[in-house]
Symmetry: C2
Subunit: 335 residues, 2 copies
């Protein structure tokens, strides 16, 4: 700005601008209040400061500040079963009368018997089979509406809170902190992309175009004179384990400089992020808080945290103890 | 802001802020100087103003301002053959000694004989076959580097200018104008996504994560102790015709409110954009300028503009006459 003013107007203007700037500067506040002042919080802030400080040898330009987050177990809870399975149960029950063969065909049979643990054990692939089978023939718009309607009132079977309130408050703060520092935040999840997109913008501030996930095949048709995309009963892409780097490359096309997960399904994503040049950051959330959430790791059949943990120890990656490093787990208000 | 100042300091502060704001307001300048003041320019500006004006019945919130652009023939030239084919020719020639079978196998045989028109006639699929075959076994990083090296000096066979200088100046202005108005601009092209991403950010200001295109399958491997993504000789996705709405849904997950193309391969994308609710905009670039560029439409074997033109006329979509509506076609400086 090039204009000169006589004092005291000049001083007042400067003061006014300084005040306006101070109001939007978050640096004086703690960006991560739900994180205790332990190792993980310090490691996050040290990483963010060095990659965002102009002139630092580790400086990363804004467009390359890509951060990827797993969803189930990393941004929101995944116990007793991944929440998409709860959605699928509703859908299968509704459609079961039209599909007598499901009574003997897995994973539908277990699901109809209420044995969700067994269904969940079929993994992302089994889950996607159920989702694609139950939604074959629906348009993407119809599916999106059915997710939106369901999630508006779906509650956690143990806490009775809305599922969208079982997101992790420390991770919401982390997402906001990274975005304030010029990062673009992405979800890279084994969950269905069409299941997540209807609510991730509202709940996490992550828009649909920054959500990567497993997907079924689609077909363009004309219905009532309008083009629609119809969901086919076939899997197109499984965004889990070795699928995560592939999902990142095919959908984002740029290697993240920071990656966040909680189980062995995220290991390849973290390895992919860490194998790039320059400063990198990898973090696992360790579920060790049976009081406030759940406790599970090496022995868990569904969301095992075993090889990932070993690798994190060997490589010196950050591992968050939910019990020790987070002073708050869930947001107080519903979302 | 809540603070009170005594005049004249208050007035001076107000004047200072107004001056600061005026400096960043582009509205006094013509945002589209390379467009003549004809119908298409007026239609673009009328659309943008109504969807961005708060309180307007057609107002669209910023996150939903998604605009998708075809690349070949819409953002840069595609004659005499799509430029990715020129890249593929180089690659095939280099690798031909290791592939004696290519001498009799199409589309390699035609390519090696220099019959590029025949190769181009195999369409996006034929092109992707060549690309995936020549690059099988390469890592995505190696491929990206080979594209970057090639495009740094690759020249147009007719004009002798850098290929990256055969982008359309009016479309560069349109991209910048839309972004200044809160739009997120995406490429949705039949071309290979890995061929475009290495240079779209520099040339168009469109980052890799906003580029959707055709793609080959990938495989995660470990080489020299590091994870790499290896290109497989198999097509994963063809982002052309009915593939464009599928690419938009699977990669962006939000329906564009404006779509831009130049041939029948873009028709489904434009129909998909227009079938949404609220204000919408669809535009075809008509190549009718044999003096400054090329002239081709209904009779063209490779990039036909026939059904799309009929639909544009029937629906009242905007059709740009390159000859009459653009006062400049290419940028004066190289990019």
């Amino acid at each position: 700005m090039k204009y000169s003013l006589r004092t005291p107007a000049r001083l007042v203007l400067a003061a006014g601008l300084a005040l306006a700037c101070a109001q939007s500067a978050p640096s004086v506040q703690d960006p991560l209040p739900s994180w205790n002042d332990t190792g993980p919080k310090k490691a996050i802030i040290a990483f963010v400061e060095k990659v965002t400080k102009e002139g630092s040898p580790d400086f990363v330009p804004v467009p390359e500040r890509i951060a990827t987050f797993d969803n189930d177990g990393t941004l929101w809870a995944e116990k007793p079963v991944p929440f998409q399975l709860l959605f699928a149960v509703e859908q299968v029950k509704q459609l079961a009368p039209q599909h007598p063969e499901w009574k003997t065909k897995e994973p539908f049979a277990s699901l109809l018997k209420g044995d969700l643990a067994r269904v969940a054990a079929t993994g992302e692939k089994g889950l996607m089979e159920i989702v694609t089978a139950t939604h074959a023939g629906m348009t993407t718009d119809e599916f999106s509406r059915s997710v939106q309607e369901w999630i508006a009132s779906a509650k956690h079977p143990k806490t009775g809170r809305l599922l969208t309130a079982t997101v992790y408050q420390p991770m919401l703060e982390l997402l906001a902190y990274l975005r304030a520092k010029g990062f673009k935040t992405f979800i890279v999840s084994g969950g269905g992309v069409e299941f997540m997109r209807p609510w991730t913008e509202r709940v996490y501030g992550i828009p649909p175009e920054q959500v990567v996930g497993s997907a079924g095949k689609l077909k363009l048709e004309t219905r009532d004179g309008k083009p629609v995309l119809v969901k086919l009963p076939a899997i197109d892409f499984i965004d889990d384990k070795e699928g995560k780097p592939i999902g990142i490359q095919s959908r984002i096309g740029r290697r993240p400089i920071a990656a966040f997960g909680n189980s062995d399904g995220d290991l390849q994503m973290l390895q992919w992020a860490m194998a790039g040049e320059g400063a990198r950051f990898a973090l696992f959330v360790h579920h060790d808080d049976s009081q406030r959430e759940y406790s599970y790791d090496r022995a868990d059949r569904l969301q095992q945290f075993d090889k990932g943990w070993d690798e994190a120890i060997a490589q010196g990656w950050t591992v968050v103890s939910m019990k020790d490093d987070w002073n708050t787990v869930f947001p107080t208000a519903d979302r």
